[in-house]
């Protein structure tokens, strides 16, 4: 009965509903053992660039990710996909993500990019800074493409930082990725594309973990989204 509400149960239900293909493959992998040490876990640091924050109405523009295995970031696994959108880009957001219509026109179809992403995320825990964006847009994309939702094991570096930093310091963008990296003496990248931010996020997690007093287990940080 307990299982009925748990992540495992939700995963089995979704697995049954999902059509053959990338999503079903993804859901077919067992969720990671929550008791394993983080240093033994396989992770994928992820960042999405989008046209806005609302996954119902805004569009996914690019996906960047890189693997973390045994607390080591493996740059040979770094990937960056631009996605063709349905609508022309709105000028205000172009200023932020610096992705132009020209670049987008060379991108992949959403369904191909998502297929690559799910393939890479399979069997791994997603690491993202403010992971609701990444999980929300993935959920929306899966519903549109496969007619079925998803469940993703997630570590949110923003949530970790919020728990480490006293409440009164949460204001003034102190929790944004750039400020977090600064606090841990990490490089701050000039570019803010999805891959650079995914890499920053991966580095931030390594820093956060190394500052834990004892080697943490996955269950200390893991959540399931959406």
């Amino acid at each position: 009965m307990f299982k009925f509400f748990g992540a495992d149960a939700k995963q089995s239900r979704l697995l049954k509903a999902a059509p053959e293909g990338p999503l079903k493959n993804f859901l077919g992998h067992n969720l990671p053992d929550k008791n394993q040490l983080l240093e033994d876990a396989n992770l994928l640091a992820v960042d999405f660039e989008t046209t806005g924050l609302d996954s119902n109405n805004d569009e996914l523009l690019s996906i960047g990710f890189v693997q973390i295995n045994n607390l080591e970031i493996d740059l040979s696994t770094a990937a960056h996909y631009l996605i063709k959108t349905n609508n022309d880009l709105v000028e205000e957001t172009v200023v932020i993500h610096k992705i132009t219509d020209d670049q987008i026109s060379t991108g992949l179809a959403l369904k191909d990019a998502v297929a690559h992403f799910l393939q890479a995320l399979k069997g791994r825990v997603m690491v993202a800074h403010h992971a609701k964006i990444e999980s929300g847009f993935t959920q929306q994309a899966c519903r549109n493409i496969y007619g079925c939702g998803i469940i993703i094991p997630v570590i949110d570096t923003l949530a970790i930082e919020a728990s480490r930093l006293p409440k009164e310091q949460h204001a003034n963008n102190n929790l944004n990725l750039n400020m977090c990296c600064k606090r841990y003496n990490l490089p701050r990248y000039r570019l803010h594309d999805a891959l650079s931010d995914a890499l920053s996020c991966a580095e931030l997690l390594l820093a956060q973990i190394s500052h834990c007093s004892t080697a943490p287990r996955l269950n200390r940080f893991i959540g399931y989204l959406p």
């Binding site: 740059l75 040979s76 770094a78 992949l108 003496n185 990490l186 991966a202």
Partner: protein, 623 residues
């Protein structure tokens, strides 16, 4: 589409020796790294641990300790470690501990070996001795400077403006002047029947030697031309030509090839190469009629230094040029003093000691000077004149920025204003009874040079002390101990706490710990063999020529001196362009990876030479 990792690439290309690799190689390599994070105090490598990776510090720093737990070196951002294990295929021979929270890039041993196989420059960085690396760095430094400002370092042939205007030596003064008028030149080169250059005549010569002296213009031009000529060859570099003009105080230099004129260059030609030429400044110094004028001219010296450094001249040449300016200010002050006080009652010569004596003065340093009087000195009748003379010059120098010597090593101090015999006694005492105070004086007075007056007095004194010091092992061993007191700051690379006074804490003293140890070494070499040279660069060259030290040691030491000196000058030039007061204190953050690497190489060479000197002279002293 796969990851570009632009930012990783941009970082790696700034790390030595990765900067030797081509762009596409670097981009490929950026995608093959892994990244780890180490918390402060965390062990990155343990002694005996199997490792086959190169570690590159992206942010933070790591300390390396040997197996006995002794601290060896600190590796900072952009620094590498782990290559010894890869090259020797052995486990780690040291402990590496994160000094700060550090993000570290890791390159696999396989990739490292492949890079070494394919790029000898890359490999050399890890396997070459310091001396080899330093030599390579210097040549790179020169090449890059040549690209920036080739003008002063280019051969003079490039600035010769026209074919040489010559006339045969059988012409009359009148004919020569007519030729100068038609050719519209101010200088005419006079050649013999074989077109060998034998003299020069200028507008000014015609005014001074012909018209003013009422000489018949139909006399042969030969009789009034200048015959003692300073000439240069076509491959002379422009800055060398400038240096010659300064030394000989001439405004034209014929360029000759096997004594045949090929052109003429003037101070004006050189002036066009740089807007604030030292050659021009020297002529201004010679024209000055008051201390306040000299003081104004003197204020342009920092700008000149800055330009010379940026023009790519070797550091020792920059030192010589700037010293020549200082020297000429001394000379002009003495001339003004003599104009004011009348001619000296007896012969004397003005001695520059310390950095000016060695022709290594950079910016305004303390004045170190002395006066050597002829043995005709009669205190009651002459004392007053020389006191006034030395006061005038010393006060003038102080106003020109060469402040009074805190140790009172100045000609105004009666102790350092003595007749020849007394000076000889001083040196005899210093050499035969080398006490601490005497040895302190040695570093000042063994670097003396006569810059004005009767040079023979000084030649006599110098012969006296060179003879005393040569092969005098007791004296040399004391001098060596003294020379080993300032050690190169190898600790700089361990920890940045170097200077303990508050203002310059954590800074590297580029003079005391940088150039001074080399200056001290060179002095011992010169005195050990009775060598006449005073300039450190020349002393090392002479020590090589007379086999005081091996060719290899001399070449290495010259490179070390050049690199440290260059860095020190560049540091001051940067301060000048940033409107800061130039000093000898460098901040660790100021160092590029290239500079940090090669300063370290240079300091190691100096330390090595100090060790060698210690074995050679101090052992006998200890026994």
């Amino acid at each position: 589409m796969h990851g570009e990792l632009e930012e990783i690439y941009e970082f790696v290309r700034t790390v030595r020796p990765f900067d030797e690799l081509a762009d596409d190689e670097l981009r490929k390599l950026s995608k093959q790294l892994t990244i780890r994070y180490f918390k402060r105090q965390q062990k990155i490598l343990k002694t005996g641990q199997e490792t086959d990776s190169l570690f590159i510090i992206r942010t933070g720093a790591a300390d390396i300790f040997n197996a006995d737990g002794n601290f060896i070196i600190r590796v900072n951002e952009k620094g590498c470690f782990g290559f010894v294990s890869i090259i020797n295929q052995k486990p780690s021979s040291s402990d590496v501990i994160a000094h700060e929270d550090s993000l570290v890039y890791i390159l696999s041993g396989d990739l490292f070996r492949r890079l070494c196989e394919q790029h000898s420059d890359f490999k050399d960085h890890f396997v070459m001795a310091e001396s080899q690396r330093l030599r390579k760095a210097l040549s790179q430094l020169r090449n890059s400077h040549f690209q920036f400002s080739a003008r002063l370092a280019a051969p003079v042939t490039g600035i010769i403006r026209r074919e040489p205007v010559m006339s045969a030596d059988n012409l009359s003064i009148h004919q020569a002047a007519a030729k100068m008028a038609t050719e519209n030149v101010s200088t005419l080169m006079i050649v013999d029947a074989n077109e060998n250059l034998i003299g020069l005549i200028t507008d000014r010569d015609i005014r001074n030697r012909v018209v003013a002296a009422n000489i018949n213009i139909n006399d042969p031009v030969k009789s009034v031309m200048t015959q003692q000529l300073v000439t240069i060859s076509p491959d002379t570099m422009a800055f060398e030509a400038g240096l010659l003009m300064m030394r000989h105080n001439v405004h034209h230099l014929p360029v000759v090839s096997e004594n045949k004129p090929i052109g003429l260059i003037s101070t004006t030609d050189l002036l066009k190469l740089s807007n604030q030429s030292p050659v021009y400044t020297i002529s201004e110094v010679a024209k000055a009629t008051s201390i306040s004028q000299l003081s104004n001219i003197s204020q342009t010296i920092p700008e000149i230094l800055s330009q010379l450094v940026n023009s790519g001249l070797p550091a020792y040449q920059v030192g010589q040029m700037v010293s020549t300016l200082g020297e000429n200010i001394n000379i002009r002050l003495l001339q003004l003093a003599e104009q004011k006080l009348g001619s000296a009652p007896i012969d004397y010569c003005w001695l520059a000691a310390g950095s000016l004596g060695r022709r290594e003065q950079l910016l305004h340093s303390d004045q170190d000077n002395a006066l050597l009087l002829s043995n005709d000195f009669d205190k009651p009748s002459h004392e007053e004149y020389f006191l006034l003379l030395t006061r005038y010059v010393s006060d003038g120098l102080n106003e020109c920025g060469y402040v009074y010597c805190p140790g009172e090593v100045m000609a105004t101090n009666p102790k350092w204003r003595q007749p020849l015999n007394e000076w000889k006694n001083y040196f005899t005492n210093w050499v035969t009874k080398p006490e601490p105070k005497a040895l302190m004086y040695c570093s000042i007075f063994f670097d003396m040079r006569s810059i004005y007056g009767n040079n023979e007095l000084f030649d006599n004194l110098k012969a006296h002390y060179l003879n005393l010091a040569k092969d005098n092992n007791l004296f040399l061993s004391h001098l060596s101990v003294n020379a080993l007191q300032n050690t190169p700051p190898l600790g700089f690379f361990r920890q940045f706490v170097l200077v303990n006074d508050k203002e310059h804490k954590n800074q590297l003293n580029l003079k005391k710990r940088g150039t001074a140890p080399i200056v001290d070494l060179a002095r011992v070499y010169a005195l050990a063999d009775g060598l006449n040279s005073i300039n450190t660069h020349n002393r090392i060259l002479d020590a090589k020529a007379y086999a005081v030290i091996s060719d290899e040691a001399a070449d290495n030491l010259l490179d070390a001196y050049e690199f440290i000196n260059h860095f020190r000058m560049q540091h001051q030039a940067n301060q000048i362009s940033n409107k800061l007061e130039p000093d000898n204190f460098a901040n660790p953050d100021e160092l590029s990876a290239f500079e940090r690497d090669h300063l370290h190489d240079a300091f190691k060479i100096v330390a090595e030479m100090q060790k060698y000197l210690a074995q050679r002279y101090t052992a006998s002293h200890m026994r």
